[in-house]
């Protein structure tokens, strides 16, 4: 049978039709050695790129791995079939750390072309041993091998902190070396590699490179995040450079440096002074601020904030609508302060609703005590678009006065849920600040009428502010029979805020409400009201998963110990939503025995539950967390291993060791990527 299969695959790999050969390549991992290895090499050397690509992809599944690695590594010496050579590199990189010994072994026997390829393999499967070999290769007599090795060292962060430090030292030394002086491409590669490692290069090392036109752009890019005063000065000046690409690079680097120096007024002032004095730089920033490319646009917008020209406000305001640069636009507008208000109002006039809304939301931040912005915010309440009304309500939550109560209250019944929710928040906030006027507006409201919703919201706010009135509970009890679920729910929340036996009794009735949203609000209210006995009893009898989850969470608010006792057996519930709620409760109470309890959930059949438990255990940050995560990174499910990798990345050198050990054995490309990402983040976080 196996022999027949080998014969069929061998024949198919010589078929004239590439699609037939590609499909045959997919069967190679099912063949025995040594035929599997032999046919893999044949497929890697196929004349059609699709067959070669397929062969590289399946190479990770061909056994025995060591034999495969050394056989494929020998193909790096190939001179005639360039396709085979390149496919061999790709296959070895996909195989990962297991391929590193083969590539190191081959390096000493290959000519310059072959050494360059072996170096590419070591760069593509980063390990400490590989990086040490790349350091050696960075002294190779062939400059192309040196450049490849230097580029590879830029990935050292994926091989751990020791590798990263080794690479950073090597690359920084290389910058001032003789080989760099003779070969600018080595310097460019070293600068790019250092940037990839997010290494801070001393400005004294970068400044001399600016005189070389070939190196200037790379040096400017490598200065990103540098906060030496001369670096900030040079970057600000270079924005005015006639070369658009250099100017763009300088803008992005300055943006990063400004982020680093943001809280140091003297450093920021260096850039500010220079940008304001340079019309050419200003003009360039305006162009970049209109680009769609996010890093350049964000940096330009931040720099325009330093220039503080009111004519730029509309340009900056445009960026408020774009998620990726909105934060920088907000920061830039803050630099204008009150000066931005008028141009911002003008920018908002006649603009699309999303921009009108964005400008309205900024106004209170820029001039909280001024009347003009407040007038604009109030006018916005009459806008036909919810995208404007909701931000206006959010702004009034911050700066609204007693006179705004009525207008805001009207919006609580909006058909648009965004608006209704924003009105709820604003009404609560204003009522808490203006207790007496809020109390006055409650007079004469019918608890079963249309105004009952806002009245319940106001009563809750007053109760939270310690200004509940004796008549409030009676009003709310009546509102519990309102025809609208939203009113009943708000009445429950308000009763919970008032507290007391009567409130608890009234809320209990709503447990049977036909609307889930009302019944769940009643359960939560019982938690706030401290009704532990009642909730424990409910926990014992409730079967509905969502309801039970809500009950044990509410019980946690009322009595953490009883909540723990109730939740613990639920950690193994076959219903994932119940187990998830139990993890939330057990993790939150932090009582003795909670860690052991959480551990018991790490072999739950639902992977999402396992991840939740691991997340809670990782918060301990101690030996127990390491033990649990070391076990989880061996889990059958990729999703759990990826989660464990990310959590281990935050657990210091011990976590890193576990990750590194797993990286050497991990076969899944996706999990390997997660491990490398965790190691890289750990590495950049440690700097």
């Amino acid at each position: 049978m196996t022999e027949r299969l080998v014969t069929r695959v061998r024949a198919s790999l010589t078929d004239g039709e590439p699609e037939v050969r590609r499909r045959a390549a997919q069967d190679i991992p099912t063949l025995p050695a040594p035929e599997s290895c032999e046919l893999l090499l044949a497929a890697l050397g196929d004349e059609d790129w699709r067959v070669r690509k397929e062969a590289a992809a399946i190479a990770t599944r061909v056994e025995p791995r060591t034999a495969v690695v050394f056989a494929v590594a020998r193909a790096l010496a190939e001179h005639d079939n360039i396709g085979l050579r390149n496919a061999a590199v790709e296959a070895l990189i996909l195989i990962g750390p297991d391929a590193v010994p083969g590539a190191i072994d081959a390096l000493d026997r290959l000519d310059a072309d072959g050494r360059k390829l072996a170096v590419e393999v070591l760069a593509g499967a980063p390990t400490l041993a590989g990086m040490k070999t790349l350091v050696r290769a960075s002294k190779d007599p062939d400059v192309n091998v040196v450049v490849a090795a230097v580029e590879g060292l830029g990935k050292a962060d994926l091989a751990g902190e020791e590798a990263r430090e080794l690479a950073t030292t090597t690359l920084t030394t290389l910058l001032g070396s003789e080989v760099s002086e003779h070969s600018p491409q080595v310097s460019v590669a070293a600068l790019d590699a250092l940037r990839a490692l997010e290494a801070t290069i001393p400005w004294t090392s970068l400044e001399p490179l600016l005189a070389d036109t070939l190196l200037k752009r790379s040096a400017i890019a490598a200065a990103a995040g540098n906060i030496a005063p001369r670096a900030l000065l040079t970057l600000a000046q270079t924005i005015a450079d006639p070369s658009p690409s250099l100017s763009r690079e300088a803008t992005m680097s300055l943006g990063r440096s400004l982020e680093e120096a943001w809280n140091d007024g003297a450093l920021v002032e260096i850039a500010t002074k220079n940008l304001r004095a340079s019309p050419a730089a200003h003009a360039r920033l305006r162009v970049l601020a209109k680009e769609t490319d996010e890093p350049a646009r964000g940096a330009a917008i931040l720099a325009l904030g330093l220039v503080r020209d009111p004519d730029d406000v509309s340009l900056i305001a445009d960026a408020l609508q774009v998620d990726d640069v909105a934060e920088r636009a907000e920061a830039a507008l803050h630099l204008f302060g009150q000066e931005a208000v008028e141009p911002l109002l003008v920018a908002g006039l006649g603009a699309a609703p999303s921009l009108r809304g964005a400008t309205i939301s900024m106004l209170p931040d820029l001039a909280p005590s001024e009347s003009e912005p407040l007038v604009a915010v109030r006018e916005a309440l009459g806008d036909p678009s919810p995208e404007v009304v909701a931000p206006a309500l959010k702004s009034l939550a911050i700066v609204g006065a007693a006179s705004d109560l009525s207008a805001v209250a009207r919006h609580t019944r909006s058909a648009d849920r965004k608006v209704a929710s924003a009105a709820h928040g604003a009404l609560s906030a204003i009522a808490t600040r203006h207790v007496a006027p809020a109390r006055e507006m409650l007079a004469g409201v019918d608890p079963r009428g249309d105004d009952a919703l806002w009245a319940a919201i106001v009563i809750e706010a007053l109760a939270c502010a310690g200004s509940a009135a004796p008549s409030d509970a009676e009003f709310l009890e009546s509102a519990l029979t309102h025809r609208e679920a939203a009113v009943r729910r708000s009445a429950i929340d308000a009763l919970a805020a008032i507290g007391g036996e009567d409130a608890a009794h009234a809320v209990t009735v709503s447990l049977a409400d036909e609307e889930a949203v009302v019944a769940l609000a009643a359960i939560r209210a019982l938690g706030r009201l401290g009704r532990a006995e009642q909730l424990a009893s409910l926990a014992a009898t409730t079967r509905d998963p969502i309801r039970l989850g809500t009950v044990i969470r509410a019980l946690r608010d009322a009595d953490p110990e009883r909540a723990f006792a109730a939740a613990r057996p639920l950690l193994r519930s076959r219903e994932p939503s119940i187990a998830a709620a139990a993890i939330d409760v057990v993790g939150g109470v932090g009582l003795e025995g909670h860690v052991e309890a959480l551990m018991s959930a790490t072999d739950h059949p639902d992977h999402e539950v396992v991840k939740l438990a691991l997340g809670e255990i990782a918060k301990l940050g101690d030996e127990r967390a390491l033990t649990a995560l070391a076990s989880a990174i061996e889990h059958d499910a990729e999703t759990v291993r990826r989660c464990a990798a990310e959590l281990l990345g935050a657990l210091g050198p011990d976590g890193e060791s576990i990750l590194r050990a797993r990286l050497d054995r991990e076969r899944s490309a996706d999990v390997r990527r997660s491990i490398m990402q965790a190691l890289a983040e750990r590495s950049s976080g440690a700097t």
């Binding site: 699709r50 928040g425 890289a680």
Partner: protein
């Protein structure tokens, strides 16, 4: 690896609005990736927080952990995913976008399709946002003059998108100035008619989220009936295998600037689904920044004069 952007203010939040913690971000990010395929990298935490924060307000939730529970376990999860999907996807589009690719479609692919023995053409605009791409394809098919319906040609353009709001806008087929940024006057005169505004339009500053816009309802145009008749729109998650089966077999699939937002696993799943949905010899067109490198080897590269596209091989009979 992407550098994590340093937050300058930690994102603006209203009073009492929750912050997205690192552990909550991990859970939500993975859930979004699993359900929608969209991948948020380490640099995107504040972006995810901004986009989803309003949903917490609307649902009256006090933490992103609660929102995760809602999306994962609540009976309301289905309707909430519609809202979340709308907020998490990008709706940037306009008529006659990436004209080099459209020229390749009109001048080279359509003549190939016209030579087919079976007089039926189906094109899928996957991730059509508010419909501009699907209508553009319909206009190009009609303009080619190669497929006369009275001569028995059956023509259909499917547009699908994750966002229900976008599909509603596509079905309305009424657009504002922002949708016409790459439309010639000639094309505008031929394929659109002025529209009296009684309802909001996309790209006009109406109630739907806009790409960019102008005030009021000035400059609204509707797609002419001839092009509208060809286009059928439906809300669809490209990872939903049951739903994607309903599209049927396609001759051409446009999926431009969609899979670049997906993680590797989702990208593979979607591309495999496209392969399955294409007729042998059918063509897949991706955005200019997208490729199938390291995704699949199942497609052949087809070199056109102005573009490089992916073709499902015509299987030889000897191949299973």
């Amino acid at each position: 690896m992407n550098a994590v952007k340093k937050p300058l203010f930690g994102g603006r939040r209203g009073p009492g609005e929750p912050q997205l913690r690192a552990d909550e971000y991990r859970l939500l990010r993975d859930l979004v990736s699993e359900r929608l395929g969209i991948w948020f990298g380490p640099e995107s935490r504040s972006s995810l927080e901004r986009r989803l924060r309003e949903r917490l307000n609307v649902r009256g939730l006090t933490s992103f952990a609660d929102y995760y529970q809602l999306l994962k376990y609540s009976p309301l999860a289905g309707e909430e995913w519609d809202e979340a999907g709308d907020l998490l996807t990008t709706h940037e589009t306009y008529f006659f976008r990436e004209d080099y690719q459209l020229r390749a479609f009109q001048q080279e692919l359509l003549p190939m399709l016209a030579a087919k023995p079976r007089r039926r053409i189906q094109v899928w605009s996957a991730g059509c946002s508010t419909g501009e791409e699907a209508y553009t394809i319909a206009m190009l098919i009609l303009e080619s003059g190669l497929f006369d319906p009275t001569a028995g040609w059956e023509l259909r353009v499917y547009g699908s998108d994750l966002s229900k709001k976008c599909i509603a806008a596509a079905r309305r087929g009424i657009y504002g100035p922002a949708s016409f940024r790459a439309t010639s006057d000639e094309a505008r005169a031929k394929w659109f008619v002025p529209h009296e505004a009684s309802e909001p339009a996309f790209g006009s500053g109406g109630s739907a989220r806009t790409v960019s816009g102008q005030a009021g309802h000035a400059g609204l145009h509707g797609v002419v009936p001839a092009a509208r008749t060809l286009c059928h729109f439906t809300q669809m998650n490209l990872l939903d295998e049951e739903r994607t089966q309903l599209v049927g077999r396609c001759d051409v699939i446009f999926c431009r600037n969609v899979v670049l937002y997906f993680d590797a696993a989702a990208r593979r799943r979607v591309i495999e689904m496209f392969y399955d949905r294409l007729v042998p010899g059918g063509v897949l067109l991706l955005g200019h920044a997208e490729s199938l490198l390291n995704v699949t080897t199942a497609f052949e590269l087809l070199h056109l004069k102005e573009d490089l596209v992916y073709r499902k091989p015509l299987l030889p009979s000897s191949v299973k």
